[in-house]
Symmetry: C2
Subunit: 244 residues, 2 copies
């Protein structure tokens, strides 16, 4: 069984991708289970096999603890850590008779990656299977070469924090077209100033570790790029343990 | 005049640091103005000279657009972009007769750094002065060497996205003690496996650019480390333009 964890900044389209990639896998005869770990989600467009909102929702937290949206989101992340064993135990039940477990994470990426809940949950998940993260990004974040490199680095940040491999997908290629890696590289080479120079150096180092930081253009809407995503996931899954 | 922008993940203590660093500057005879750019803030403990909540609040957005906390935070960031000119024009008024303009940003760092509002606002701010960002972090993020390196990289991510220099401060040293950089370096050198090796390589590259990525331990609560922070800000301020 493969465990695929969709992470990414707010608004990048994690939830839609979880749904569409799942139904594509389904059509390809794979058994898929869906997990929602975003207690702040209002609507979830796929049928959840486990939903953190069974335990609590961010709206409830706002009311119960008289917190604003910021405070309630932090409290939610910390509650997730507190309830970690119960959550993973439910995921273990769900994992039976399943080829792919797709996990949707909190809207705000930093709640999962920069607090303790995400790393600790993934650590405990290792008892069920080896998770791979898919970092879902908006193509607007590749609009300048410096910003593109910052996103390559964000993938490294996620790998270092979560201790698992990460694939980068630029979503919404239906609206923005595919990210042109050659053009970005060309512009990087000809950039001027310290910021550009820094971007180029880091980009080169990221490429040395390019195994775990592959970059794909996909569209959850058009279901394009899903074959490629599947290939990368399989490749990483087969080389499991290489990074540990 | 210096413009200091406090960024950082949710719960790192940006708001408290804005308040305490401001009052420390005040006691040292500097004229300080405070700006709150977090529309999701419930209470702001300093006297704001401009508060984004004069224009809108995240709670209002939740009600007005029938959005959940996630959606409302994204909508808030995008509204900030829409109202950018009005916001910067108010900041220009505030900037008169002032030595330090301290800017507090949205609770969730990614709303400011990974959406368009932050980079575009800082770009427009250049007409008033050259901003420097202070990346405020919880020391728990330095508890493993890999996580520490991921935070060094997060500072690079912020610099590449925002196009301005960044100082890293580990806050809450009153509770956690100072971050021991030598010990982290030692553990990095002796780490095993690809993740550790990757962390070491990136850490070395960050150090090559260490000018703009200095790391300090401070405590907003005890007001410790403020002298050092001030020195670093002055140093960057004096070398302004080097990074552009």
């Amino acid at each position: 069984m493969q465990i695929v964890v969709f992470i990414g900044p707010a608004g990048s389209g994690k939830t839609t991708l979880t749904k569409e990639f799942g139904s594509w896998l389904n059509k390809n005869e794979f058994k898929v289970k869906y997990i929602n770990l975003d207690p702040g989600a209002e609507e979830v467009p796929y049928e959840c096999h486990f939903d953190i909102r069974e335990i609590f929702t961010t709206r409830e937290i706002m009311r119960k603890y008289s917190l604003g949206p910021n405070g309630a989101l932090i409290k939610s992340a910390d509650l997730m850590l507190e309830k970690k064993s119960a959550i993973v135990s439910r995921m273990r039940e769900v994992s039976v008779d399943c080829d792919f477990m797709l996990i949707d994470t909190p809207g705000q990426m930093e709640l999962f990656v920069f607090r303790e809940s995400g790393p600790k949950l993934l650590e405990e998940l290792e008892s069920i299977g080896h998770p791979i993260t898919v970092l879902v990004l908006d193509p607007i974040l590749a609009s300048s070469p410096e910003s593109f490199v910052s996103m390559q680095l964000l993938s490294i940040v996620a790998q270092l924090r979560l201790g698992v491999e990460s694939v980068v997908v630029f979503n919404k290629s239906d609206a923005y077209g595919e990210v042109d890696l050659q053009e970005i590289k060309r512009r990087l080479m000809f950039g001027k100033g310290v910021i550009s120079e820094m971007a180029l150096s880091f980009s080169k180092l990221v490429e040395e570790y390019s195994g775990p930081s592959r970059i794909l253009s996909i569209s959850a809407k058009d279901k394009s790029g899903f074959n490629e995503l599947m290939d990368v996931l399989n490749e990483i899954h087969c080389s499991c343990g290489d990074l540990t």
